[in-house]
Structures are given as C-alpha cells and as structure tokens.
C-alpha cells in the first residue's frame, strides 16, 4: 500500500479468552455499531510488528488495549500519546513496541497514521483463562467506549468540543 486512504482506524488489542485482557475487544464491538463509514474497527490478538501491517495506510489510528501498571485502580481509563513511550529504553517484549514500529514505518517509508492515540484500561487479571470481566472493568467499560467515541468525534469535527475527559483520565508516564 503506497497511499494514505484518508480513513480512521480503531484497533483493539487483546485476547477475549483471558478475562479482562479482552476489554479492548469488547469496547471495539460496541464502538463498531456507532461509527460512520470512514472508520474501520479492527480487533486483533497480535502486537508488535503486526501493528505495522494493521495500521499501514490509515490517516489516524486509535488503539484500545488493556494494561497492568499496578499504579491505578482497575477500571481506570488511561490515555497515552505515542510520545509517552519514547523514553522506554527496553520497550514491549512483543517483537517491537509501538515506538519501534513507528520508527520502522518512518525509515521504511511506510504510509503510517499521522495521528495516533492510545486508550488503555487498567485491568485486574489478564493472566487467567476465562470469559468475562472483573467487576471494576465491567463497570468502567462504558467510560472506555464513551472516551473512544469522543476522540473519534473530535477527529471528525476538529475544534467543536473541549477535551473534558482529560481530568479523570490520568495520562500515565511510563518510566
């Protein structure tokens, strides 16, 4: 793919057999019915280099994931910019982290989203097989969906809405 398609990607990462780990996927299913034709909603269990293939060609991308930082109560919706990950010396163990993937895209002249946002919910237990979410994650799911829709709306109608959710979405600084 050599051209930018002008479209928006919602990319949910996770595994719905691992309980809370699937929260991004469930959010994506709920988002899918509520966006217009210029948005593609994709769910994947992959990471790392696959992100390059999945995100290629899009103008904008919103990633939705689960995360265990251990520093926020489960259910907290965290919001990141790609720059937040630049300081990570040893990035994600999954092949390559997002900063590496973005840098690869730049060096290999892959057409890549100019704007990338990341929403991640702090989860309780993503290590045990089971279907369904823990209580805090289930309760907070609507907020995750709402925030994602709000970001998409801001992209579609720039400048029309103030960014109200920032205050209850602590932007974590990985260290």
């Amino acid at each position: 793919m050599n051209e930018q398609n002008g479209r928006t990607l919602v990319l949910a990462l996770g595994n719905d057999l691992l309980g809370d780990d699937g929260v991004g996927l469930e959010a994506a299913r709920q988002i899918a019915g509520r966006v217009d034709g210029s948005v593609d909603v994709v769910q994947t269990g992959e990471a790392g280099l696959a992100l390059l293939e999945l995100m290629e060609g899009y103008a904008r991308a919103l990633l939705i994931d689960s995360v265990v930082t251990g520093r926020y109560p489960p259910g907290t919706v965290l919001e990141f910019q790609p720059e937040d990950f630049r300081r990570v010396v040893a990035p994600s163990p999954h092949y390559a982290g997002l900063p590496e993937v973005m840098e690869m895209a730049r060096r290999l002249q892959v057409v890549f989203p100019q704007e990338i946002r990341i929403l991640a919910m702090e989860v309780l237990n993503p290590y045990e097989f089971g279907i369904g979410f823990s209580e805090p994650v289930r309760t907070s799911l609507p907020r995750l969906v709402q925030r994602a829709l709000q970001i998409l709306d801001e992209w579609q109608n720039p400048g029309s809405q103030p960014d109200q959710h920032r205050q209850d979405s602590p932007a974590s600084q990985p260290s």
Partner: protein
C-alpha cells in the same frame, strides 16, 4: 565502650553490611527485551561476587485446562489458536491433528497437502520474524552493540532500507496467503477433523506460485545475509562455539520415514548427546517417553526423558534433559528433504565438525536453514497437481475417546492431548508447548552464561545481554503475548535462601 553497646553496634553494623551486600549482589535483568511475554532473571552472587545460581522465570497463563473442560473437542482448534497471538497456526494444526486422532479419521491426501502448505508458510513467516526482529539484533547488529542499536531498527541500519522493506513485504504476502486459506491469521479456521475447510481455486494458483518462488529467493537471500554477516566474522563463531553456550543434551524432533526434518507430520525421534538414536515413537506414545519435573521456584514444568530420569540441571548422557527447536530438529534428523536445505544442512554440520552440535547459539543458523526448507517445501506443494483438488474432507463416523496430535512449532515439538466422553465433550486436556520441552536446558543456559560472563561482581550491559542471548536463541514463547502496550512491566522480585524458600518479596 560498654560491651553491651559494642555488641548492639556490631550487630547493627553486620545487618547493615549484609543488607548492603545483598542489595549489591542481586542483579535482575528485567524486562527481558524482545522476549514474547514478561519474564525475569534472578542472578544470585556469592560472597566473592561470583554467580551462585541464576533463575529464569516467567509468569504463566493459568487455567487453560480447566477452561477447556466441558467444551466440545471440535472447538479446540479455534480455542487453542487463541492461547497466544504468536503461534496460533501451530496450536491450530496440533489441535486439528489431535481431532483426526480423536475421531480416528485420515484426511484425504489433498487436505494434508493444504495443511502442510499453510503450516510451512507459517513456519517461514515466523522464522523470518525471529531472524530479523527478535534474535537477529544479537547477531546481525552484534552482541556488543549499544542497547539502542540492538533492535529491529539496528537491523535495518545494518542490512539497509531495501532489505527491511523486503522483509516486511514478504512477511505480509505470506500472511495474506495463510489468511486466504485459513481466515484470520490469528484465529485460523482451516482445520477440521478429517480435512480442511477450504482449498485453492485454480484461478488463484498462479499468484501463489509466484509467491512461493519469491519466498524461496527470500529464504536463500537470508541464508546469504547470515553467512556474510555472522559466519564470516570469527568473533561470532568463537562466541557460538564457546563453552558458555554449550550443553551436551538429548535432542528431539519430528522426522519423516527417512529421518528427515518434517514440521507437519511423522514420528518423534530423540538422539543422545553422542548422536545415536535413543527413541523413535508416534505422538500417541509421548507419555511413555516424556515426564515433567517441578521446581519450587518456577511455574514452569521441566520436561525430561522418562527412561533416562531427572538428574537435576545437568547435561550428558545420564541426564534426561533434552532440547527442541531448530538446532534440536537438525540434530535429531539425518537430513533435509529438499535440495537447497540439504546443502545448507551439510554445510552446517561440516562447519562445526561434529554432530550433534551442542552450541545453543547455533539455533540461529539452524533457523535460517529451516527457512530454506520451508520455502522449498512450499514450492513443492503449491506446484503439486493435487493442490487444487476439492477432495478435502473425510467425515468422521467413529465415537471419540482419546486424541493426540503433534507438530513441530517454530519453537519446537508441540503436543495436544484430549480425552472426551462419547459425545466429544472434553474430560481431559494436556498440552506440552514447545518452550516447556526446552525449559530445563534454557535454565541451564541462563545459569551457565551468567557464570561464564560475570566475575568478581563486575557486570557490564554487554555481559547482561550475552546472558539474555543464551535463552533468546531458543526463541522462547510464554504465551502472554497480548499486552502490547509498551510501558512498565509488572515485576515481582523474590529472594530465595539456600533451602529454596522465599525470604523476601517486592512488587512494583
């Protein structure tokens, strides 16, 4: 000074010194960069600053067996392929073969060829990922390169942008082919008991034949890159053959009727550290040969050969520890079934002047040879007259009881074992994943590397990387592959005393 005060003073001083030294002696490498899953290594130094023990630990996914019980067995190819985002096709195929066995049904020849074609495509794609992205940085960029260079960007810088583009493009095309036959790469829906769900339409064949040609060229090119960058560098060869990265264990791998490497089917062959055949058996007999040892410090079960026995973390003929993955497959076979791969195989063993080759780091070279084999096999299969056949399934009619399936995953032999009631509802599930077969040897590698490379408490970043190299060569996969978000990894720090008891635990 009053004697009682002196005693208290001395005691306090001793405690402070102990705490300081304990702090100073512990070196933890975490997170293990580029490993699929979170892990940590604990290295314990003695009073002299020499390595006493080193532990390699990973958080395991829990509860898969329990999760599966009570479900219909035919759901397993879909469920197991979702265990992890790294090798879905390997689980899917092992599971599908277990269902063949469960329902006592033999797929028609074209269906087997489709499966093997998809499987080799997956092996090629996954090996390419390791060579260029995961393990490649150690070799292509260099083990002593600064950490900021030892990643895929360093690889691109070393081999050039055009080659980087080629890696990305080839991988994408291979994955698109898997998706054509199996649906989504991550959740394949190809395999059914007794066959496959989809074949290749004759009109689509030419594009895939072209892909196969390009894939072979890519694999041969990768072999050349490896030879140019790694094998022509004496320092690398010294590192590969150094005692630090050498263990004389047994080796296991699937072989065809002529004892040649096969990823999809065959018998499991085990050779001794001296290279003689120790055992050759069908998947169904695996429990007669493989047993599991449990250690108090790890969730991982350590596989060993039942007939030889568990003798601790030690190598040699008397120890039942064995190894799987590319090097083990080459060691456990008599050759490769395709011409270019066979040439590379001979070159490999000639270069080392021995067989088996016991050098862990030779896994990287073996992996490239397997890429050549996978690409050649893809060419054979895609040009097979039967490959567009529509005779793709035999419908099972027998009542199920027990089914066992095995494949060679990129990281080694993978077993799926199911037992059901007469309605095909799961009553027992046992998986032995590739990494588990290697866990004992991997623990030995980490400890030996640490012992060989850390002396007098002196540790440089380069040294630590070389310790990590010891297990990265196995390409271990611990299935926790869904947390892609870069950031701080959860870390539990544990200190053990000589009795193996946890005496201190810290979380961050």
């Amino acid at each position: 000074m009053d004697e009682s005060i002196q005693t208290v003073w001395n005691e306090a001083q001793t405690r402070a010194n102990e705490a300081y030294h304990a702090q100073r002696r512990r070196i933890t490498v975490d997170p293990i960069t580029r490993l699929e899953g979170h892990g940590k290594i604990d290295i314990f130094l003695n009073e002299q600053g020499e390595v006493e023990r080193a532990y390699f630990q990973v958080p395991e996914l829990r509860g898969f067996e329990v999760f599966s019980l009570g479900r219909p067995a035919e759901d397993m190819p879909q469920i197991t392929s979702r265990i992890c985002g790294v090798c879905p096709t390997a689980h899917h195929m092992a599971s599908t073969k277990a269902l063949d066995d469960l329902y006592r049904v033999e797929p028609p020849s074209p269906a087997k060829k489709i499966r093997e074609l998809v499987y080799n495509t997956f092996m090629l794609e996954d090996h390419a990922l390791h060579v260029y992205v995961l393990g490649g940085p150690d070799f292509i960029v260099g083990p002593d390169a600064p950490p900021e260079m030892r990643n895929v960007l360093g690889v691109i810088q070393t081999v050039g942008v055009d080659i980087g583009k080629r890696v990305i493009t080839t991988r994408r095309r291979l994955r698109e082919f898997i998706a054509y036959l199996g649906g989504k790469v991550v959740h394949p829906v190809l395999g059914l008991p007794g066959g496959v769900a989809k074949g290749i339409a004759p009109e689509d064949l030419p594009q895939f034949q072209q892909l196969a040609k390009d894939a072979l060229e890519f694999a041969l090119f990768t072999l050349q890159v490896f030879k140019d960058v790694v094998l022509k560098n004496p320092a690398y060869m010294d590192l590969i053959t150094s005692d630090t990265y050498t263990h004389r264990t047994y080796y296991m791998g699937l072989v065809d009727e002529k004892n040649r490497v096969n990823f999809y089917d065959g018998k499991i062959r085990v050779v001794s550290p001296e290279g003689s055949e120790y055992a050759k058996f069908a998947a169904q007999a695996y429990l007669d040969y493989i047993a599991e040892h449990v250690e108090p410090w790890s969730y991982v079960k350590f596989c060993y050969l039942k007939g030889v026995g568990w003798k601790g973390f030690t190598d040699g003929r008397e120890s039942g520890i064995y190894s799987v993955a590319p090097l083990a497959r080459l060691n456990a076979s008599d050759g490769m079934a395709t011409p270019e791969a066979q040439k590379a195989y001979e070159e490999f063993f000639n270069a080392f002047g021995q067989k088996p080759v016991h050098h862990t780091l030779a896994n990287h070279w073996a992996r490239v040879i397997e890429m050549v084999y996978a690409a050649e096999r893809i060419n054979e299969l895609i040009n097979d007259p039967e490959i567009t056949s529509t005779n793709l399934r035999v419908i099972p009619t027998t009542s199920p009881t027990v089914g066992i399936g095995v494949v060679e995953a990129p990281r080694g032999t993978l077993f799926h074992h199911y037992e059901t009631d007469e309605d095909g509802i799961l009553r027992k599930v046992n998986l032995i994943v590739a990494t588990q077969n290697n866990s004992a040897r991997m623990a030995m590698s980490v400890e030996k590397a640490a012992k060989g490379l850390i002396h007098g408490g002196e540790v440089s970043e380069g040294l630590l990387n070389k310790v990590e190299m010891a297990f990265r060569a196995y390409d271990p996969c611990h299935a926790c592959a869904t947390h892609s978000l870069p950031g701080q990894m959860p870390l539990v720090l544990s200190v053990y005393n000589a009795q193996g008891e946890v005496i201190h635990q810290q979380k961050r």
